[in-house]
């Protein structure tokens, strides 16, 4: 069904003129009127912090919400490797078009062409902005900005600050936000969690939040609401996301009428530290930048695998000729720098064939010995020192001497709230930016592009496009938080909280969350098939019933209660889990991170079905226990020639 409700609002004209023309045509709000308008921003990662700061600078009254004790804790801070930008500083023939093309191709032709082009177009501005804020990017001896290469690209366009690029970019955006907080344009609410969206006459007009320190339920009104709460990868329980990262704000918007797009596109990152046992709470990422100098391999002989598992030999004792550098073997043109989805599946393929190098059989080697020989340990330490240190602290193995062990893990979600070209959702006045929306990465995100997208949306897109909506709201008075819609929404939240607290069953939240995670990883993870997905939907329903009959949440609602926070989030993860499985079942093709075993080429690569699935799948909530309605936004490629992804030659 092609739906007319989904107006992508992509402007007319040639691709490279769309954004410029659009900016000329959209409305702006005068400074005097901006002072009268209020905007709520939920989330303070790269998207939320940069948006709140920029909107504050423009003169809007901004309220920014953060679930941690400070905006600086947002999980953007953990991004290690870098940020892409089409600067062409290396004279290696990079360009806006090439970054655009790499991103479209990396996303396996499942993203919106005009959005991706705009992303590439504003990317150079991001670097300039961050430099001006005092972000200490890596420099060459001559004082110029340094670059490294990243997966899915054949040019060096990734800017970085050691292995802490996300941290440095977030500190830049956080500093800009602090400046606006000090000036009074932005009011910040820490340790507040959005619990619902308030809609009045069809427009997003505010939120209900819980003060996590006191348990108080609070009301906040505005003329527009921006969701910048990141992704929903923690539905899998074990992921590289932070423990508090959650998909609840997205699910609340979905339940209030915002369409959820492409939920099945979840990225599985190839280089994470393998699972060590049952007591593990989360997985740690080892930056993709390591694949610049690290070579991925498993032994060629099964007897070497046996010896490794029994710890009879060390990996460094295996002769060069007995090593299978399977990425270099299978993908000569890109080698170790193939996109994440390709590298993850290749690791799974080798481990499924019995070549996994640790006791669980779920690990491959990432080896730096060649690079250390070529460049010396000092250079490697300078590039990746903090990552090597982190690896050693966690595993007790020194990666300068023995190769790292890595395995894929859930890392990022390309799916998210459906937005139009203006980043507005299907609810007027509700916007979604950064990882929380779906628009730019298609079926797979390239490395160093998440930071780029978060900051592009927050600094350079939303501050323009939100004006087009707010220009129509300048006569609208401040939202009345005593409106019936606030009363009703708050009542529903309180009922939900009481219901959860009164179950008083036997299982702690984590126990149930782990059950959901195991189902997701086994049936909705790296390889999916029809039977498995159907089974997952049944099993998730069982876990959901378990939650509502047997969860045990101690304490009350009127205090700092971390178990209650987790329980509320798990309710929404259960909803997301079902949505991911449903979307994956519906998409009977393989593309990017979504791999349906029924749809693969002879050599195990993804096989798309462009005729039937070249569209965005946007799901509309229909109520508890009802199957959501699927809407399709067709993807048309006016500029790029759609082809099969090829990283072999």
């Amino acid at each position: 069904m092609i739906n007319t409700q989904l107006q992508s609002k992509v402007p007319d004209g040639p691709l490279h003129e769309k954004w410029t023309n659009h900016k000329s045509n959209i409305k702006v709000v005068s400074p005097a009127n901006k002072r009268k308008l209020e905007i709520i921003v939920v989330g303070t990662g790269l998207g939320g912090a940069s948006a709140a700061a920029s909107l504050g600078e423009l003169g809007y009254n901004v309220k920014v919400f953060c679930i941690s004790d400070s905006p600086r804790r947002a999980h953007s801070i953990a991004a290690q490797g870098g940020i892409n930008a089409a600067k062409n500083y290396q004279n290696d023939n990079d360009s806006i078009y090439r970054l655009f093309y790499d991103t479209i191709k990396g996303g396996d032709y499942r993203s919106r062409e005009a959005n991706v082009y705009r992303l590439a177009e504003v990317s150079p501005l991001i670097i300039d902005q961050c430099v001006a804020q005092g972000v200490p990017f890596a420099r060459e001896y001559g004082g110029m900005l340094a670059n490294r290469s990243f997966g899915g690209a054949q040019v060096s366009r990734t800017f970085y600050a050691r292995g802490q690029t996300g941290q440095q970019l977030l500190l830049g955006a956080y500093a800009a936000l602090n400046r606006q907080i000090a000036s009074g344009n932005v009011k910040s609410y820490n340790r507040r969690e959005m619990l619902d969206l308030v809609i009045i006459d069809g427009q997003a007009k505010g939120i209900i939040a819980r003060n996590l320190e006191t348990g108080e339920i609070e009301r906040y009104g505005a003329h527009a609401v921006v969701i910048a709460t990141g992704g929903y990868g923690n539905a899998f329980f074990l992921s590289t996301n932070a423990m508090n990262s959650n998909g609840s704000a997205m699910i609340q918007c979905y339940k209030r009428g915002a369409f959820f797009a492409n939920p099945c596109y979840a990225q599985i990152h190839p280089t994470c530290i393998p699972v060590h046992g049952e007591q593990q709470s989360k997985l740690t990422l080892m930056s993709e930048s390591l694949r610049n100098d690290g070579r991925i391999w498993v032994p060629k002989k099964l007897e070497d695998v046996e010896k490794l598992r029994k710890k009879q030999i060390k990996p460094s004792q295996i002769a060069e000729a007995d090593r299978d550098y399977y990425l270099e073997r299978r993908y000569p043109a890109f080698g170790n720098l193939v996109p994440r989805d390709v590298a993850s599946r290749a690791a799974k393929e080798r481990c499924d064939a019995g070549f996994g190098v640790n006791e669980t059989g779920l690990a491959v080697f990432l080896d730096f010995s060649t690079a250390i020989e070529r460049l010396g340990q000092k250079v490697i330490a300078e590039r990746y020192g903090n990552l090597f240190q982190m690896y050693e602290k966690i595993t007790d193995v020194n990666p300068y001497k023995e190769p790292m062990q890595i395995y894929p893990a859930i890392h990022y979600t390309m799916g998210g709230i459906w937005v139009d070209y203006n980043l507005m959702t299907t609810i007027p006045g509700l916007y979604a930016i950064g990882e929380a929306n779906f628009s730019d990465h298609g079926g797979n995100r390239l490395g160093a592009s998440a930071l780029m997208q978060g900051l592009a949306d927050g600094y350079f897109v939303l501050p323009y496009t939100i004006g087009d909506y707010l220009a129509k709201e300048i006569q609208t008075p401040k939202t009345n938080i005593n409106h019936e819609a606030f009363n009703e929404t708050e009542k529903q939240i309180k009922e939900k909280i009481n219901k959860i607290l009164n179950i008083k069953g036997k299982q702690p939240v984590d126990v149930i969350h782990k059950k959901l995670g195991r189902i997701m990883w086994e049936y909705v993870g790296m390889a999916r098939n029809e039977n498995g997905l159907k089974k997952a939907l049944e099993l998730i329903e069982e876990v959901r019933n378990e939650f509502w009959t047997d969860v045990l949440v101690p304490g009350t609602n009127t205090e700092f209660n971390q178990e209650l926070e987790k329980a509320m989030r798990l309710v929404d993860f259960l909803e997301i889990g079902k949505l991911i499985a449903l979307d994956a079942l519906n998409r009977k093709e393989s593309c990017g991170g979504h791999f349906r075993e029924e749809m693969q080429t002879e050599d195990g690569e993804t096989k798309r079905d462009d005729e039937n699935y070249m569209h965005v799948a946007a799901w509309e909530y229909q109520g508890e226990n009802k199957t959501p309605i699927l809407h399709k936004e067709p993807l048309t490629y006016e500029t790029v020639h759609v082809s099969t992804r090829n990283y072999k030659d």
Binding site: S70, A78, Q279
Partner: protein, 247 residues
């Protein structure tokens, strides 16, 4: 492995706190310290008791959220790491482990091991930024920055704002935290313009919020999980003095 735990309990900021003893068993040496607390909490919940509140988020040592004082040391008995990166293999089987929140007048306890570090945000709001709006800035390569300066700015910028320096300092001083930000920006041409003003404003705010004075004991440097050097305090003092001389 098994451990005896002595953990600080405190209902809220106003309540009186106390130590409570717990036992945990069946802990793998590869388990992280916070995972050990997860296990303890799930045991407590199942037994109908109240779990121990503690702050944590990224669990990979970068968000700065975790904040435990373990056996008398901020972030516990290992070097250059945060609590979330501490693993139980660093302890001996049967050890008694004492766990407390950060102790500082400027960081009031919220509950159990959770403290309020809003004072850090306020210090940065006083001047920890470059006054530049979004847009209208020059190309990133317009001003060359020597690699050494960029590297030193990066060293200082590695601060994660966890508060271990304050918790460790016998005076409860935030000098290392303030110095890291002042120094990071003073090392770069973009931040140099406001460097002296910034130093003055941030130090004034730090004093106002009830942090103690620096007496150069270097304890902060020893316990900083990111190895931030007190050399940055020297640079802060320099910027601060220059600013004062101009007053």
């Amino acid at each position: 492995m098994k451990f005896k735990l002595k953990i600080w309990r405190q209902k809220n900021a106003k309540a009186k706190g106390y130590f409570e003893d717990f036992d945990v068993d069946n802990i793998s040496p590869d388990t992280s310290f916070l995972e050990m607390l997860d296990i303890l909490n799930n045991n407590l919940i199942s037994a109908g008791k109240e779990p121990v509140a503690f702050d944590h988020d990224c669990r990979e040592g970068i968000c700065g959220m975790c904040s435990l004082y373990i056996n008398g040391r901020a972030h516990g008995p290992d070097e250059d790491i945060t609590t979330c990166q501490l693993h139980m293999r660093k302890f001996k089987d049967g050890d008694l482990i004492t766990v407390e929140p950060w102790r500082s007048a400027a960081f009031p306890v919220v509950k159990d091991l959770v403290v309020n570090r809003n004072a850090f945000d306020q210090i940065l709001q006083a001047g920890g930024f470059v006054s530049v709006n979004t847009g209208g800035v020059p190309d990133g390569n317009t001003i060359p920055i020597s690699k050494l300066d960029a590297d030193e700015a990066m060293d200082a910028s590695a601060c994660i704002g966890c508060g271990a320096c304050v918790a460790t300092c016998k005076n409860g001083s935030a000098m290392l935290f303030v110095a890291a930000r002042v120094s990071a920006l003073a090392k770069l041409p973009q931040g140099k313009v406001e460097a002296q003003q910034r130093a003055k404003a941030m130090v004034a705010k730090m004093d106002e919020l009830g942090f103690g004075s620096c007496t150069n004991t270097q304890a902060c440097q020893a316990e900083c999980p990111k190895g931030i050097s007190i050399a940055h305090i020297a640079r802060l003092n320099r910027e601060f003095l220059c600013a004062k001389l101009k007053d």
